[in-house]
Point group: C2
Chain length 179, copies 2
DNA sequence: GTTGCATATGCACACAGTTGCATATAATCT
DNA sequence: AGATTATATGCAACTGTGTGCATATGCAAC
């Protein structure tokens, strides 16, 4: 029951179609809650049935028709209810950690680790660009912007941690190899 | 397709019953791949059908019968195959980050953040105790032990990062409140 | 003696997420 | 003219996870 709320958050910022949301999920909210367009369309129908959102069909020229969804007052109340509810800690669930724990082949772990590190660095770069672009003066932020910035900070912390871990692994495994 | 492999890793260390595995998952492998006993029993059946594990029933006195599972050579081969396969990066999926991003009520976020911080600290303590107990001299570790230690290091990094994030949030939100 | 806990195994339903497929318009590129 | 890309929406099947329920033994505490 959290994709619903991620969508509500996104729609509370601005009304959007399923397609728009799918793109937003690829770029911003999706950093913290990834979702495919199929999933988004399915959940949007469900949310409309619950009365959390309403839709209007727009005819566009040069493009297919577009169903734009907007948050309703019921949806807004639900968002309030959810925000007040304590969030439960997401469990760590890492394929890679299990693989490390099993430790069969040092070579494939090294390759994996280097790839992961590059991946973390790439993501970190995206986050930092986003931070520089949207929140250049963090001390002046208030309300929603402050929250969004702090969420982004979480992403940045997470990538930095991932990189530190990879470096620690490389330090210990590459050292062993060369000996 | 990863609970299977987490179980294979665990069984490759020592044969076990579903019940044993459930307890191990609560304590060690489960740090990186949580699983309930129901899920474990279900997957064990599936794995036996695939020939990855074999079982023997043991009659115990004073306790219900026990089905002990051991890894087969097929299972070992599967573990090798899986270890060589590149692991895909687990996506960040955080309810809390979405809530921050939405930022409705600063008070409930503060409560949430303090709880999360305490939670991270608790988990960190467990990891550090485990580290002190099982891997007191990391530089001397080799093979499986080195891998298990590096996995644990990942957990430690992750908790430290979580704590740092919480502190950053508190710094910014508590500051705002008092003004 | 009965309540609760640890041991031990499992079914069934619900819900969430992934993947593959399907369809349609229109602009741009080759 | 044909291919690709972007816009736009959705169904269906499968897989994985979570939650509740069911059952059985035996020990220890109250």
């Amino acid at each position: 029951m959290a994709l619903e709320h991620a969508i509500l958050v996104s729609l509370s910022e601005r009304a959007a179609s399923g397609y728009d949301l799918a793109r937003r999920f690829d770029a911003s909210i999706g950093f913290f809650w990834p979702a495919s367009h199929q999933q988004i369309y399915r959940v949007l129908s469900r949310m409309q049935d619950s009365g959390w959102i309403s839709s209007t069909v727009q005819t566009q020229d040069g493009r297919p028709d577009k169903k734009t969804y907007a948050i309703t007052s019921t949806g807004d109340a639900e968002l309030d209810r959810w925000a007040a509810e304590p969030s439960n800690r997401e469990a760590l669930r890492s394929d890679f950690a299990v693989k490390l724990r099993g430790f069969r082949d040092s070579e494939s772990i090294l390759i994996d680790t280097r790839n992961r590190k590059a991946d973390h660095e790439q993501r970190l770069k995206e986050y930092e660009e986003s931070q520089a672009k949207f929140y250049p003066v963090p001390t002046k932020l208030t309300g929603t912007d402050l929250g969004a910035w702090l969420a982004l900070r979480g992403g940045i912390h997470s990538e930095l941690q991932g990189i530190a871990w990879c470096e620690e692994i490389l330090k210990h495994l590459e050292g062993r190899e060369s000996r």
